[in-house]
Amino acid sequence: MMEVVTIPPFERFYEEQQSFVLSQLRRMLGRDAADDAFQETFLRALRAYPRLEHGQHLRAWALAIARNVALDALRRERASSAEVPDIESVDEPLPYEELRRLTEDLPHKERAAVFLRYGYDLSYDDIGAALGSSTEAARQATSSGVRRLRKKEQS
């Protein structure tokens, strides 16, 4: 039986995830831009928080939001710079809704792994950290999710 994890008060979530979120944002954006993105990440999380259905994989969720915020910031930066934007190097995530629909039947961990890999282009290292498992387990969960999706497509 799957354990139901209740959603903690936001204060707990914020205290537990803030350092992971800040690390990821600094890796992606550098120190100064990371501060603005930090606030935006947790404001977005706060807006969506009452709609969460359970308290599982909250770290993965927080890091996915952080990554989206960082990608938005990078896009804005490129759009506003005088140089021709190098679109190729901005890894555009699959449209969120489509990925959500495609993966809705997957087991929870596989769904999270596929989402983070293809929706947010996280490395297996990051996915492992986000899901609280090893890099190798993250790789396996992702590929087993993808196999399942292929099978579904063929059937």
Partner: protein, 188 residues
């Protein structure tokens, strides 16, 4: 990686300023010990003696919604009035209250309690009568015990019919301290 205090308080302020919180709370020092003071968009919803924030957060989340965050700004007005009260410069509170959780009889009793003046004592029986149920002194005791906003709603001014202090959710020492502050009891 440590989040700097500046970055941290920037987020906590922004969360409140954008109206995204179900409950904002802060910890406030007072002559009767540390207090947890919590507000919703409707008003003051809780004052808690000897707070254990994690436990109180859970309770607030169950009662008002999961977006509970320590965020000082929304509690500033309550904190200011409490400071004035403890300095002897304020005899009544002007704060909107959120008593959503109190039902029917409890709410009627709390409304009557709000009318007990500074520095005066009343009894559980009198309060029960004013709330329309003269025999419900014991039930009034229960309502006092669960008063969500002690000090502001002055359950410390309610004593037994013989004048004994009887009880107080925050402990009798605090009840005595508050009554001495208001000049309702002589210092022993």
């Amino acid at each position: 990686m440590t989040v700097s205090p500046e970055l941290d308080s920037r987020f906590r302020d922004a969360a409140a300023a954008e109206g995204l919180l179900d409950v904002a709370y802060d910890l406030v020092d007072s002559p009767v010990g540390q207090l947890l003071v919590a507000v919703t968009d409707q008003g003051l919803c809780e004052i808690h003696y000897d707070p254990e924030p994690e436990r109180e957060e859970e309770q607030l989340a169950r009662a008002f919604g999961v977006r509970v965050l320590r965020s000082p700004k929304p509690t500033d007005e309550a904190r200011r009035q409490l400071d004035e009260y403890f300095a002897g410069k304020r005899t009544s509170f002007e704060l909107p209250l959120d008593l959503r959780l109190a039902r029917e009889f409890g709410r009627t009793v709390l409304e009557e309690l709000a009318r007990v003046p500074y520095g005066e004592l009343t009894t559980y029986g009198t309060l029960a009568a004013r709330a329309g149920r003269p025999r419900a002194a014991r039930a009034v005791g229960t309502v006092m015990n669960r008063n969500p906003v002690p000090i502001v709603l002055p359950c410390h001014r309610v004593v037994g019919s013989t004048g004994s202090l009887v009880g107080y959710a925050g402990g009798l020492d605090r009840k005595r301290t508050l009554l001495e502050l208001e000049g309702a009891l002589l210092k022993s």
